[in-house]
Assembly symmetry: C2
Homo-oligomer: 242 residues x 2
């Protein structure tokens, strides 16, 4: 099975959570929109699925994954599907639901990160909603960010295995996603994170541990890993970092 | 199996999507926080799970469902779990993933509805973010609401069965959730919806069809159905309806 990931070609965005799972598993996949145009890459290939009249199950937005005859949308749904196939989640139903529940909470967190710089509209520039962004980012830094960090730190603390992973005995796609959250938050809110990391040692240790996994380390130093940038979900505006 | 739903006792909120599935299936369930205090009801019973040191899999927020030894959080995850058990989704994996993908898109839509009246912070009153709410609600009415409605209308139009349901041959939990979206949007944005419904006839027909299902009709006219109100996700502020 060769998986095909469809996502915007110039940002990490939500697609990155899927890329990290595919990379850690070491499976064959194409990041389709990043292929050269002559090989079917570029944004038009995304649009064919989003607007094409011939698609029975059109996604609302990227990312989506093509796996054989299936086209699967919504990041957490893709990871739910891939998790069991790639060995990135325990096999029993209770663990799979729990991993998915955590991933959906990460999805909510990502949406809130996005809205710190776009609290009014994704269709307007940051500069057109900067005043509102400052208010929203303050609430995010002071209320929401600590709440999410506290929650995941507590999950690590309560984990029956007490082995530093969020789900079960080994790394799961949720751990890879938490790595991405920590990386993105450090990029976007370096001052807030420097302060908050001191009281969330388990999350920092998990980030470190994921970063040294051989396939993840190889991916991060490759050209396949796009750099963080100011068109992405995680953006660094010093005025939003308090 | 007696299901136990845990959700805020005085709003429809995200819990309502679960209530509709349980009601349509006609199964035995307790809406635990709405029970009398002497029977274990009230908000403290929610808090026991959210803050309790003894819970291995703590939810981030209500709703969550207790089913035997499982405690499952995140609305769409609960519906994914319940769907196959209650006969509210086809059995094959492709249909279950597709239904879940649609439900996750509804979850995103719900979050955007919430943020029309709380674009800055869920911890502040509406009146403290009214100016920002007017801007965000305008964008929602003019850009996002049509986009979501167009998407689901298109899914109904493209459905291979062309039978008026979103997934497969019979009603699914996603259809029940779309009913709730249409009801909530009519309450919150009556003017915008009166205009938009004219070009989304399949969604209106689906809403009507769900409303006449015997168990749903009985539920809607019972005291178990809480009225829409101004503490809920769907709120009617005339100034946000354009």
């Amino acid at each position: 099975m060769r998986y095909e990931l469809y996502y915007w070609p110039e940002i990490q965005g939500r697609g990155e959570f899927v890329r990290l799972a595919l990379e850690d598993a070491g499976v064959d996949y194409a990041d389709v929109a990043r292929l050269p145009k002559r090989a079917g890459g570029g944004i038009p290939t995304l649009m064919r699925f989003l607007e094409g009249r011939s698609v029975d199950h059109p996604p609302f937005a990227p990312p989506f994954l093509k796996a054989g005859g299936l086209v699967i949308g919504q990041t957490a749904n893709i990871l739910f599907f891939l998790g069991s196939r790639l060995g990135l989640v325990p096999k029993n139903e209770a663990s799979r639901l729990w991993a998915h529940q955590l991933q959906l909470t990460i999805a909510d967190w990502v949406a809130e990160v996005h809205d710190t710089h776009h609290p009014i509209s994704g269709g307007l520039y940051y500069e057109e909603q900067k005043r509102e962004a400052k208010r929203r980012a303050k609430d995010f830094r002071e209320e929401r960010l600590p709440k999410f960090l506290d929650y995941f730190e507590q999950v690590l603390r309560r984990s029956p295995k007490r082995n530093g992973y969020l789900v079960g005995k080994a790394v799961s796609y949720v751990d890879l996603s938490i790595f991405q959250m920590m990386e993105g938050l450090r990029y976007a809110f370096p001052r807030a994170m420097a302060r908050l990391e001191r009281t969330h040692p388990r999350l920092v240790a998990l980030r470190d541990r994921v970063s040294t996994r051989p396939r993840i380390a190889a991916y991060l130093s490759s050209e396949r890993r796009l750099p963080f940038n100011q068109q992405d979900i995680f953006r660094h505006y010093p005025e939003l970092d308090g």
